[in-house]
Symmetry: C2
Subunit: 130 residues, 2 copies
């Protein structure tokens, strides 16, 4: 078949068998656009609900709550209620969450760095494809 030589080095994870599905449910968390943005923001330190809502830019109240629940369920963030009036809830990365946030940050850095290239590629592609 093809030269698998390149993947022997470090990208052995690049090749998996039918057990893709097992990893997928973890990756699906990344697949969710809101999760990555939230993780990224929490990488800068704990934030409360309303702060996240302001800072995540464009997220609906519903999706914020739903996404936070999902992240909490996966053990990536913690949710601490501070019983004051008005109530206050802080969200913070867990230790494992921090490691994922690192990956996410790296990903975002990539996206920022290559956004011009991608935009140009799209323009070029669209130009030659009526």
């Amino acid at each position: 078949m093809t030269q698998d030589g390149t993947l022997t080095a470090q990208t052995h994870t690049g090749v998996r068998g039918p057990q893709d599905c097992e990893v997928r449910d973890v990756l699906d968390r990344i697949g969710d656009k809101w999760s990555v943005l939230i993780m990224a923001r929490l990488g800068g330190g704990p934030l409360r609900y309303s702060e996240l809502r302001r800072v995540v830019d464009g997220i609906s109240q519903r999706m914020l709550t739903v996404t936070l629940r999902g992240l909490e369920r996966d053990g990536l963030i913690t949710r601490t209620v501070i019983p004051t009036t008005p109530p206050r809830v802080d969200y913070a990365l867990t230790e494992v969450g921090e490691t994922l946030a690192g990956e996410v940050a790296s990903l975002i850095r990539w996206a920022e760095a290559n956004r011009p290239y991608v935009a140009a590629s799209r323009a070029a592609f669209d130009a030659t494809t009526p």
Copy 2:
């Protein structure tokens, strides 16, 4: 990843301000589960259409084509037609695509390493949440 403690910081380090949306369309490529898997596979070297179809495990013909087009449009993969009989089409990462594949590989490694933790977290969460 810096932690500047002060939650009031609008000037975050590492993460964006309200212009999340600009980065998002790039991240959305990552958000797509098929794109991630395809990038990962191509990280091991060029593959042809039918090979991808076999190896990506569960992808429909339609989604394979659509996803490949998207990746090509973004300048992340190349599509080279070899006019033989029967026809043959090879897909390979571009140079920029390689760098993204590296990120993706890192992400998949994370997912594999932390899958047990996530699974346990979910089980625990579901147990304490009727």
